[in-house]
Symmetry: C2
Subunit: 283 residues, 2 copies
DNA sequence: TGAATAGTGTCTATAAGACAATATCCC
DNA sequence: GGGATATTGTCTTATAGACACTATTCA
């Protein structure tokens, strides 16, 4: 990849005050430090001489689109912003990338600190870097998506909001989604801060795509579940009904389900067998 | 996503000198500027008062894994590094993200400036952010992959190297790949700079996955091609032979191919019909 | 016994793999 | 004509959708 010495001129930000960008002179000085001959210790010497601050840099954050399925609806977890910009609007949990932590660790930290959730399935989604997605300064955000089963949401921080996700597009077309605060009846759609409606849309699109060929659904269910539970989760995520017979066959044939021998309880009809996902999915 | 005012302490980098990070005092001062009441102009005022430099930031770069298929081999385009670190090693074309350009534009620019290629299929791949992936300072890179048909590689800058990609894993397992300089006979594998072997591996994995459900193959072929050409490309990318009959049927049934009526020329056997990809792939 | 859902069996349509037969070009 | 690959057609097998039928629980 590209490295600082590749004489890319530091970009003067169009407006921000007190940016760390240096003058072209300082830039040249930083470059000059590069020795002309290769040797074992060259990297060491170069490293010491290198001035990491010679170039203007965007801020880097991570944002987490946490998805779950509750009462046959896709839901996500939002925080209400307490300061500008977009004060009062809802936003995904997110935070700055620290200089000494890997991206995925930052995503897990944010989920822990802002939502009170740990040990959650987490995967990188997409990186959003539109120039003005944050009105203050250039911010590139590495978005992650996370999946939890709804039971775990009870333990989430009290200052979070659960919102139902409404997907206004079919299949995997893509685009932003609409969110409605859960509980508060028929209320209008929430306007999310920044490009977070796009991030959520990208997350929905991604998980829809993955559902077909990965056993991702079990992240949205408790440890034991029935085939009907699993099908309902798939249908909720995909936003369309599935054929019961072939769904059963496909799932059982996938080799990723394990019958527990136990039966459902407390239902007013014939109880279904409980299944569990088996980890040996190394096909 | 996360914004600067979210009181995340600026991380003191373990070692880099002259970082733009401020003291906790400066940080507090930047925060203090946030007004306490919401109003229409609040964002404006906050914006003016906000000091974007109050937090230490990683560098952000883009790297492009350019893939092509030449003589039934997967190839990529590399540049030889002229300065440390990893001086003399080969690396993907890459460069800094400028403060005023979107990520994808940066990727296209890098491809244009460093490889001399324009109008290339380009898609975001993954963001790599291991803490020490660059020995000098924290660098987060947003990797893109690009596809071109080999004819266009002739026009690439003369200081680039074409390398054959050898995939040491099957299917879509993933992991780094090996590269061998093209032309230079049976030479040993190139050791790539940074984590670029991983980036290439991720690109191969991605395109293998996409090949099944997207008409991505045509990016690797000239405008007109035979079904046999297309199959060879698929086989090269996937690293395994495909059934000819069902490949033909699938491709023709996909509705994304358009017969041109023209026939192959200059072949010492029955000429095949030439096809073209049709843009109307809005299934 | 009836309501309700679970689970099985069968039939059909569609897609994939195998293979044979024929077509068309260059030498 | 012979070599080589293209293209079509048929047969077989696997998978998906549809639907009928039986099973089991609770009220």
């Amino acid at each position: 990849m590209a490295q600082p010495q590749r004489r890319e001129p530091a970009r003067r930000a169009p407006s921000r005050p007190k940016s760390p960008a240096r003058s072209p002179g300082a830039e040249r000085a930083a470059r000059k430090a590069a020795p002309a001959v290769t040797s074992e210790s060259e990297d060491q010497r170069y490293l010491a001489a290198y001035d990491a601050s010679a170039f203007e840099r965007p801020s880097v954050t991570v944002d987490v689109a946490l998805l779950s399925v509750k009462d046959d609806a896709l839901v996500t977890l939002l925080l209400s912003r307490t300061s500008p910009p977009f004060r009062g609007r809802h936003a995904l949990p997110g935070g700055f990338l620290r200089m000494d932590e890997p991206l995925e660790v930052a995503a897990a930290r944010v989920l822990h600190d802002k939502a009170g959730l740990s040990d959650v399935f987490l995967e990188q989604l997409y990186t959003f870097g539109a120039v003005h997605r944050d009105p203050r300064t250039r911010v590139v955000t590495v978005a992650y998506y996370a999946l939890v089963h709804p039971g775990r949401l009870e333990a989430a921080s009290s200052d979070t909001t659960l919102a139902r996700i409404e997907v206004p597009w079919g299949g995997e077309t893509g685009g932003p989604v609409d969110c409605h605060a859960l509980g508060t009846a028929r209320s209008g759609a929430l306007t999310l801060a920044f490009d977070h409606a796009d991030i959520l849309g990208t997350a929905v699109k991604r998980i829809r795509g993955k559902l077909d060929y990965t056993p991702i659904g079990f992240q949205l269910l408790p440890e034991r579940f029935t085939l009907a539970d699993l099908q309902r989760v798939h249908e909720t995520v995909l936003g369309r009904p599935l054929n019961k017979d072939s769904f059963r066959r496909r799932m059982l044939a996938s080799g990723q389900l394990e019958a527990t021998g136990e039966l459902q309880r407390e239902v007013d009809h014939r109880p279904a067998e409980l299944y569990r996902f088996s980890r040996r999915s190394a096909v």
